[in-house]
Symmetry: C2
Subunit: 173 residues, 2 copies
Amino acid sequence: MQWSELADQPCSFSRTLSVIGDRWSLMILRDCFMKVRRFDDFHDRLGIGRPILTDRLRKLVANFVLTKVAYQQNPTRYEYRLTQKGLDLYPVVMAIVHWGDIHMNDRKGRPLIHHHLPCGHDFDPVMTCSECQAELSPREVTIRPGPGARDTVHLPPRAATAPRSRQRSKPAG
Amino acid sequence: MQWSELADQPCSFSRTLSVIGDRWSLMILRDCFMKVRRFDDFHDRLGIGRPILTDRLRKLVANFVLTKVAYQQNPTRYEYRLTQKGLDLYPVVMAIVHWGDIHMNDRKGRPLIHHHLPCGHDFDPVMTCSECQAELSPREVTIRPGPGARDTVHLPPRAATAPRSRQRSKPAG
């Protein structure tokens, strides 16, 4: 499979990666959620080449993740803002940050503290079930084909069976 | 900034991407959560070249996301299993899948249905606050430097201020 074919796969994971699976696109998105909006600011913070930055911003706009808005006339200058589709990537960004906070924190503690305004507490993001609100564990989730399934290549080898424990140190047989 | 410098940044997002920001690594992880474990199975499902697959698996093992376990002797053959560090990436994978389910579903509906065994319902993953259990919205979260902050480059331009609405169609000034 070529990388360019990802968007055509009957798999929501592959399709999402076809839009944001590029490493610099993800770094740009992180900055967008920190209210960075202007080309030169992205450039200064990320230190990537202008052609690459131009290309990634163009792609995010083309996929309706960002929208380009004029903030000045004569000469016209633009800034990049998250659309609702882009804002909906917040769980992706928070999940990536949280894993780094736990597993890549350099023993000094996390670089950023997140504060939840409605409840007034510092918090960790927790991925929960929409139906029972319990925290999700991969061992308690099963998968089966949905209406958008086209073939079985991207389904699990044994769909609709609960995954066994992955913590055993020896193989099953 | 070179891509290889990401792991050294005082930013949990960059550090996580230094381990899993590679596109194929993410695709391999998706398959790991579907209980794919063997080199040839990854190869057949993902259709990537063996040298790239070898490299990505080696990197995931080196970063303790996967562990290599012998499942056969004479000749010795190995399979790859998620460690606890790897299992902790489940929210990242689920967040990516869910965004694709909502925004990239090709109008046919989602390719996979997720079922939560403890409550017995099909579900969507919801990212919530650990303290008040409410669903997180980027507009209700502020950020401030934590104990691991080293400089201000990777902090938001205006730390500890609430983000304004990003939905306005015209710039502020």
